[in-house]
Symmetry: C2
Subunit: 344 residues, 2 copies
């Protein structure tokens, strides 16, 4: 399922326009190599990638995007893995985006986890991809957003975004999801505190994993009392707390995963019926337009300043207090406008 | 010390250019009302504020900026308050910037805390200001950065930035500090977990406040073992853990604060001698140039799109998948260039 990097780099097409259409068509046909290539180009900030994205965009907005987050060791990968199987049983087409902000390369811990998921490797309707920051303009969050579009255009019904940790970068990443699942395990008393620091607000469903362990009842009570603290208007979604038993207790475990699966779909229905999904999609469109404005208008200016050494020059002038950022940027703006007037 | 909002708004000057110079001069003379007005204009994103900042910038880069963060209830305000007194005893000029990202207005919890600090109210060399997000372009972090410049230009030797919580926004804010103090209290076992989530990396000094309480030794051990985990090259600063006794145990308490004060100055010396301070200032200059590029070049474009209703139009087209952000932004870019060519 993971493509060979060198091979596909060698095959990268030369002619632009036509290739965008062709690559976009392949992706819409569900071609895994085409999708992988575009995602990689986005990670690497290859400018041409945007051209293909244009052709993909009209075919997006259909998939249900599910975020899975929680402390390291909480068993997120197991839950993700089981959800993939459960959704496949329902004939859903599934994609998994495993995101690691800390790692400069795809791989590492996530790749290790993914080995366990090889049981899906033979299934053409399951697409698993690791994602790391690298050079992506708009950062990791931007790359995740675009990758979701690609998987969406491939015709995936469910896109699962799994994060490694629970930091702020993860919150940004998980914001691309329509339904956010926070996975906890009993016996890590500190979890709740970590949750309070940002994740609590975005959780739609809580999972207490390995619920055969001691401390499950306490954790559940703590969660419920935290949820009680939140003001709850009628018609609002109250995040359910779902227990998932030891994976070795096959019967209960499978039943728990089925419940989780059902709850995810119920949340999706809730988003649709309350038109909250529309609001989420609108918010995403706004963020995306801002990001593209930044990368398309500001990006080339900064790139040129850096290439000519002018950026270093500006930094040095600011450091020595020979000038200030406001005056320097005004000069940049004037020079930019002059260059545009001279051009064409 | 807190200025009257209405009164100073009434007095706002009309003529531009000259007023920038005049306002900047007043600020450099340490005029509290002039500084307050400029900080408020920055919060409110008044475009003219930049004109004054230009005149201030050459007079900045001298102050030692100290960040104070930690969980709510850890006693950050008390520590800040005591540090103000301790620095004043050393004849340092001091400013406090109390930052609350969650509050849409200055005030609330922070203002309540600040009432306790009124013992400094009669001291013209102590300047205390609350800061909230409001409309600041570049967000709260941008407003904090500019406010630090203003306090710096006022001739403050020590600028204390105090945050309310320990979320990601607080990490961004605290990144403006040269020396970061994380305040903990024993008996909140979850603290360490919260620290791991981002704050641990930026801490230069740990304070265990209310160290007469049970659990101090355990917390200290946990911190030290976490610090041991960090790779430590020779010559590197190892964050010391400083205990601060119950405020009622006057003798020890005052001694502890003196130790903290000493340690802060030692860290400052370390930054200077290792040239790490220079690196921090360089990083700040780079971030600032990026922020000003964004607000000066992108800001007016977005503002115009919003005023003309074109932005809503773009969002609607993206939502309906009638177009995509890339194509729409290309149109914006072309229109912008055309308008520049036509102008002047």
């Amino acid at each position: 399922m993971m493509e060979n990097r060198n091979q596909s780099a060698r095959e990268r097409p030369e002619k632009e326009g036509l290739d965008h259409v062709e690559l976009a068509r392949k992706i819409r046909d569900g071609n895994i190599r085409a999708a992988s290539r575009l995602i990689r180009d986005l990670e690497d900030n290859v400018p041409q990638a945007k051209g293909t994205l244009k052709h993909i965009y009209p075919h997006t907005g259909k998939a249900h995007v599910i975020g899975i987050t929680g402390s390291p060791g909480a068993g997120k990968s197991t839950i993700t893995d089981e959800l993939v199987s459960a959704f496949r049983e329902k004939e859903n087409k599934v994609a998994v985006l495993a995101v690691d902000p800390s790692s400069p390369f795809s791989g590492g811990a996530i790749l290790g986890d993914r080995i366990r998921m090889q049981r899906h490797a033979g299934d053409p309707d399951v697409f698993i991809r690791s994602l790391a920051t690298r050079g992506a303009l708009g950062g990791l969050s931007g790359a995740v957003g675009s990758s979701v579009h690609i998987l969406d255009a491939m015709g995936k019904d469910k896109i699962l975004i799994e994060t490694v940790g629970v930091g702020q970068q993860e919150v940004d990443v998980i914001n691309h999801a329509h339904t956010v699942i926070v996975v906890l395990v009993p016996g890590m008393g500190d979890d709740i505190q970590a949750i309070k620091a940002g994740i609590m607000e975005v959780a739609d469903i809580f999972v207490i994993n390995k619920s055969h362990r001691e401390g499950t009842r306490r954790l559940q009570k703590e969660l419920l009392s935290l949820l009680d603290l939140k003001e709850n208007r009628s018609g609002e979604w109250t995040p359910p707390v779902i227990l998932v038993d030891d994976v070795l207790n096959k019967e209960t475990f499978n039943g728990n995963i089925a419940t989780l699966c059902q709850t995810i779909d119920a949340h999706h229905q809730h988003l649709i019926s309350t038109r909250l999904l529309e609001k989420k999609l609108e918010k995403k469109a706004i963020v995306e337009i801002h990001e593209v404005l930044k990368s398309s208008i500001l990006g080339p200016i900064i790139k040129e300043l850096q290439a000519s050494g002018e950026f270093d020059n500006m930094v040095s002038k600011v450091m020595k207090r020979q000038s200030d950022p406001y005056t320097l940027v005004e000069d940049v703006r004037s020079a930019f406008i002059r260059s545009q007037k001279g051009g064409e």
